[in-house]
Symmetry: C2
Amino acid sequence: MKTKAAVAALAALAQESRLAIFRALVQAGPAGLAAGRIGELTGIAPSSLSFHLKELSHAGMVDSQQAGRFVIYNANFAAMNALLGFLTENCCGGHPCTPGESVCAPSDEAA
Amino acid sequence: MKTKAAVAALAALAQESRLAIFRALVQAGPAGLAAGRIGELTGIAPSSLSFHLKELSHAGMVDSQQAGRFVIYNANFAAMNALLGFLTENCCGGHPCTPGESVCAPSDEAA
DNA sequence: TCGACATTTCAAATATCATTGAAACATGAA
DNA sequence: TTCATGTTTCAATGATATTTGAAATGTCGA
């Protein structure tokens, strides 16, 4: 993943409405949710919702598929995992980190 | 981690200069880097750098400590791990995801 | 075809963010 | 104290993002 893609992905998630949308899709799993259902869950107005969904889609964080008059959105889990990997990439210059100091290893305190 | 903190953390990273700063600090490890050194590595002007460092600090993604006339910044690895955990939290509603479809498990394709 | 529903597009207004340069502050050395 | 260095603050400018409402598009059922 390149820096620009990472910035785009982070920017897509760095917004209250979009983060709520994305989390709803993550929790919904691969089956996804219809746009209207997302609107119900998040309380976002249709036009604003569409704007944010397009933003997320353009950043590659969600995919969509038409199903009748519904449009089903789902989280792009591969993109999410790529982003997580990017953030920890080359951590501590590749050297192993001291395990007692809350460092690179993602098994630390995740709260 | 609460939603607002996550949005703040993501917004802090969703900017080319700040992402570059943060990655430099991640690669530097717990020892951190002086502000001036970060400026050298990233090519960011001092006042702009200070602005972004304050932004990252306010979001809890970096810590700082005075060392003589230098100010040493270091990545807050615990905060980073908390953010990563937040994004995958409650994935697929808690149900185990089908492993062959690039889903929740972070061992998929991280590129 | 017609009407109802789901979603998207458009334009305008508001708000927020990033960059710049100059100046101020703090620290250490002479 | 005085000077040089490292870092931060401030104000102004330009750029970008978000929201809103109305209208348009596309799809299904009768």
